[in-house]
Amino acid sequence: MSTTERYIAEIGALARKLAPGPVRLMEVCGTHTVSIARSGIRDILPENIAMLSGPGCPVCVTPDSVIDAAIQLAARPDVIIATFGDMVKVPGTEKSLERARAEGADVRMIYSPMDGLEIARQHPDRKVVFIAAGFETTQPGNALTIERAKAEGLKNYFVIAAGKLIPPAMRALLEDKEAHIDGFLCPGHVSVIIGANAYRPIAREYGKPCVVAGFEPEEIIEGIAMLLRMLAEGKSGVEIQYKKAVDNEGNAKAREILDRVYYAGDTEWRGLGMIPKSGFLLRPEYAEFDALAHFGIELRPSRARKGCRCGEVLQGKIAPFECPLFGKGCTPEHPIGPCMVSGEGTCGAYYRYNRKKV
């Protein structure tokens, strides 16, 4: 029997011990959601173990108003929008950056925030606006790039500070009385930066088990086994499956960089509303790089789309197929909500990989 087969057998045995359940585990991170969907892990989990998909998809939780602001800026001939790929298709109130590009806006996909800086250097007559979305894995790199821009005295590089923190979102989910989450599969790469210790206060206060897992299906299966073991033993706390990359302390140097450039401010998450101290906002010393301030754009309050239940999906309260729009009117080609658009969105993953009962 391979190691993975042994974990699957163990999951079966633990599920029987925990029966009738149901046991509801949440994978917070979008990349976990996709990996689970792509490898069909739900097919091999026992009936009473449910995997809920959480809000760890940075594109999914970026509010309409931010996309609208980016599109407003994109319409200016002196602006170049630089963004990571998945942001391009997310629908704002009227349209997406992809459509804006088709209408003539200069929207460029980059792989690293440093590429955005390079575009700024090469086009001193244009203003580069980088949509700095992402969680703790990506923000240190964004922060370093902003520091470099300052050191070089660049006056044409700006960011829309849309980065977010994971632990406050986990708290917000657990605070919700209607939530029923028994344990968390914690994001692997965010944890490289923040360390497994970042989850201990949450695990302690709410009495939940947390396991930091890698992204390969075999690693996720092991992580689920570890969570069920903890539940069966009535334990709460944090354990690490992804030992190669994650330790308790994380990357202190990366966190120092974050701290120099950003502070944690109250921020809106699409679908979850305002979560205190959950957004990476620019410190006053770096205010000159804030795109919204520079161009004088106010974020409009977001409007919910009729029928769209992305919010409840992001909180793990309903499965995608329970949304009336899923597959009818809301598809990856014509996404109504962000969960469907992003490669890491829950609805997108379900639709692409699991929508037919096969």
């Binding site: 976990h32 240190p140 790469h189 140097k253």
Partner: protein, 72 residues
Amino acid sequence: MCLAVPAKVIEITGNRGVVSVQGNNVKADFTMLNDVKVGDFVLIHAGFAIKKYDPEDAREILRIWDEIREKT
């Protein structure tokens, strides 16, 4: 969350350099790490190295890469 992949450091000057992701060479920034040397294995995300693997785990990664290569 994030597409981060293990890579081997093949060039380094100050905080910048080049890493190899199983034969694909990309530019990398090492500012977030201490004491990185050529031959080290790092985890790379969006052009930044965010973690240095310890030698035993690095060997394990290399072993997996070799296994994949042999299988194909």
